[in-house]
Symmetry: D2
Subunit: 333 residues, 4 copies
């Protein structure tokens, strides 16, 4: 049994991670931390029978485990120290923040317009997308788990982009996410009375914090429009692309053969599109591609994933399985 | 046109009140106050085209208007000063708090077990339930608007109790409320992810703050079980009573003749029960009474109302219409 | 008081129409028809206190009224006879079907690829969009009420298209609708368990029945992607356009001055976008326009309306007010 | 690997059963039947990656398997023939209908007031509640799976009743169920627009089809009030009982020691009550008991379970595990 530690167990991704790991046959949770809930038990905080004790960060030692997950809010002050201390001790790390996803200090600073908070750690970080970086993850000490929104576009778009099929280098991604994507911290926009029985767009025409990895991984210029759905979990993205004219729908579908043996990423049969229900509570990313005017190259892709699973915690477990040399699908089927 | 002022415009009841008054043909809103949102406009805070400016409490003068509504959180420190200042100036007051509903300082202190915060104001307060206290409200300077939960039981139970039909002096009220009843202040229990797609009981077997007026108005011993529904507005209560044996269902229905001319309170035909949809966005309280085992006196009443309308702001406007000598139904149909 | 008749009172648009007309100060409902519910009352079918009797179609005479609304399912066999009989008797007609919206028999047959079912009636039909055809509606005997989806795009796009600002003649309309848009007839896709807590795209890349009027009214080539939201009412559309480069956002906003005096159509201030909550239960269409990359002409429009109100029944009342020479906003504020 | 067959795979309980069995390590699904969907695959009907073929009833042979589940609508005409044919061949049966739950032909006819449709099968049927009838189920050839509503009351009430603690032999069960309890057949009451954002009571004061087993298993007179929640899955029941006075809350809790070793039934700690979220998607039944006025014996129990899991398909798998001599919790944790 491998031993793992979880920093930040009382957010939605941390809790989801614990639920997945509790059923994992080859892993045990050595510790789970919380800030305000330190000293209590998971079952005091969440409606669950899982009775994990919640520890203060200072009360745990990352060197006790084989791998830690850091599911802490963006900009947690001592995140880089936790990671550094673990890596120094030979403990592997999967980080959920958006700090280490951009490949290099230069890229971080170019996109964010500010100094990288932990440049000495960046070089070790591997982008945590097994379908594209499986071997690198297998050998990684440090994995930067992906954003949930970008994943909904990167996996369907990357093969098209790599095959040179996208005519103009652009994609429009009209993305709709459940409310859990906004986290468990209290805010008026996620208050029941404000998020229920409504629907809204946000950050339209602005640079969302997830855009850099999205453009970087696809090499495309992305128009990204996030929306807030009145459901708890799931992202469905409707993606508009102009492919090179003169290519048949069958040729387009052929580029997705790269996913033929993937356990969790599936192109649906022609004419079928995924719904949120297909993917909720699973580690699946499903997508369909529909020719709109194939002669002029207009196609629409619809992709769906569970933002807390494939978009966050289940994907982290998929990377963990690779890093700990286990079957990649353990605990995820 | 009468002029009214609203204290506390950015809670759900304050906003609901403004929406009702905006359509009222004989009233204009002279001012609306807010704490943190003072200086902004209602349309900055709520999704509405109503552009009422929001003022600081210190920036308005209750003496400018004919009547004020105080829709402030329970235990707002200077509530009694606002009320006192208005009453002294001859301005009428409708208060939404639960401070002045219990009829006398003695009753308040008996139920609450602590000193009344404003004993000098209590004597003037009339319980704001037009169906039971119409004449008193018509002559009142100061009305204490009722609680939303008790209303769902008081109106169906009071006629039975007054007619001496309740065999054992008890009633069980299993009440289910939409989330808006918990207000607009942020709390984990009203966070979308915690309140959506679930259902729970709360305060079971404890004294809810609404219980005293409930028992006082009915003269019954009430077992009251509140529950939280994953809808925005509405209360549906299922009420269990044991009536005196030997009374026919027709005789039971006859005690509700007192409501025959009420515009907003209706007993449904035999065999029919209200649903939340019947009453949402209206000032109606609908109820049905179903004999379960009429020979042994077991009956079930189901009542429904909109907690933000009949349970709060629309009922306040009904009282206002009486206090300002207008048609009782103005703005409410 | 004008007298109106309603054909098809037990669908969602018919019921919505009755609710609006019940509050209309200058109209009375002379009759309402139903098929399977004929002989019963509206309150037997819907949770309402409105007690309109429901008549068989054969039991009513359109000549008894000033105007009829035909809210019948698409392809109701005798729809054209009902309309013809009314028009012959000088009774005005507002039809909710999509049969008479396309301006001419030729256009109908070109778009639908089949013969027009009632060519003799088409010439009299005026497209029921008051903001674009106010004078024609005022003088019309016969109005074809618009589709709900197209409206969400026509009103924001038509001024841009007419001003020649759309660079490539294209628009992508990613539209999201509440479930009431699918009507009250039973179907698995609108069964609670299949539509709740999920989200899906449908008819992607296919010709939706609403597309012809959409393209015709804007003169644009429209990529239209409908989606099904787990809410009851409302449509929010996210619209992607490429405007001619070199035009400032202020110049773009200036084309919407045509709506400055419209009571129900509003461009929101720069930086603001509508949410479904802003428009639910109202006759408003709200929209915002956001420059994404103004130098290259990329803009995103977000528009919102209530599909049962501005998208159907309230808009029909707006047309009725014009046709009966009443204040256009009566019953709609 | 044991082989099982499923009759009625396209209802909610059938689909839930397949999802559970797909993860069961010691069972394989040999066939699944459907009526109108025969010849198609499960993934054509449900949003799932499970690709089970759906067969006509006539195309399968129950003698090919070790055990069959009959998840057919109540009153399916040939249900008894399917069961008889299987039992004759030595194939075990778990039936989801409410035909065989009442213990004897006499009890059936007494409660239902009509002849038993298959008296020759009744004697073999064991009531499928492992917590009460574990040994009988282990030895049974034929198990009648319980109703979902009764379960929410039987498990908390039976120990109190058996201990003689219920003073008056009565219990009031105010039960609230998610919409999936009404099945997947189309009906107006489960149409999205009629079930969403509302709440209602039904069958108040009437004999619900689940009442007989409820009273029979507890020996109590039950006042049972079902309600329809706008959620998909889960039942929460609020239960009012009068216990014998003079018993302490600790003594009351002590009667639940019978569940101490149960894997799926848990009394929560004093002061805690379950919410629907605690049990959704699990085989758990959780309950809490709250003294209201312990001196006079008034207690309230709140219990929660997932109607499709513990209330139906997961419970059936729990019985199957016993009948096939497997670990009782296989596939259910």
């Amino acid at each position: 049994m491998a031993r793992v530690g979880i920093y930040g167990a009382t957010g939605y991704t941390g809790f989801e991670l614990i639920q997945i790991l509790e059923r994992h046959p080859e892993v045990e949770i050595a510790f789970a931390t919380a800030r305000s809930a330190a000293g209590r038990r998971l079952s005091d905080i969440f409606p669950t029978m899982i009775d994990t004790p919640l520890m203060a960060v200072d009360a745990v030692d990352p060197r006790d485990v084989d791998l830690i997950f850091t599911c802490l809010p963006h900009n947690t002050p001592n995140l880089d120290q936790i990671i550094a201390r673990a890596l120094e001790a030979g403990v592997k790390v999967i980080d959920f923040s958006d700090t280490f996803r951009l490949g290099s200090v230069e890229e971080y600073e170019r996109w964010r317009g500010k100094p990288h908070p932990a440049p000495e750690l960046q070089a070790a970080a591997v982008y945590g997308l097994p379908e594209l970086y499986r071997e690198a993850i297998r050998n990684a000490k440090f994995v930067a788990n992906t954003g949930c929104y970008p994943l909904s576009g990167i996996l369907p778009l990357a093969p098209l982009a790599r095959a040179g099929l996208i005519a103009d280098g652009n994609a429009i991604v009209d993305a709709k996410s459940g409310v859990s994507g906004a986290g468990r911290s209290l805010a008026l926009k996620t208050h029941f009375g404000e998020a229920h029985e409504t629907f809204s767009a946000y950050n339209i025409g602005r640079v969302h914090r997830h855009l850099p990895e999205f453009e970087q991984q696809t090499g495309l210029h992305i128009i990204f429009s996030p929306h807030l759905l009145p459901v708890f979990r799931g992202i469905l993205s409707t993606i508009y692309v102009n492919l090179r004219p003169g290519i048949s729908p069958e040729e387009v579908r052929a580029v997705y053969k790269v996913y033929d043996n993937e356990p969790f990423v599936h192109l649906l049969p022609a004419g079928k599109l995924p719904e949120l229900r297909h993917v909720q509570n699973s580690n699946l990313l499903l997508f369909g591609i529909q020719p709109v005017e194939p002669e002029s190259g207009r196609y629409i892709i619809v992709s769906a994933l569970d933002n807390l699973r494939k978009g966050a915690s289940a994907q982290a477990v998929q990377s963990m399985n690779l890093m700990l040399d286990m079957d990649e699908t353990l605990g995820l089927l």
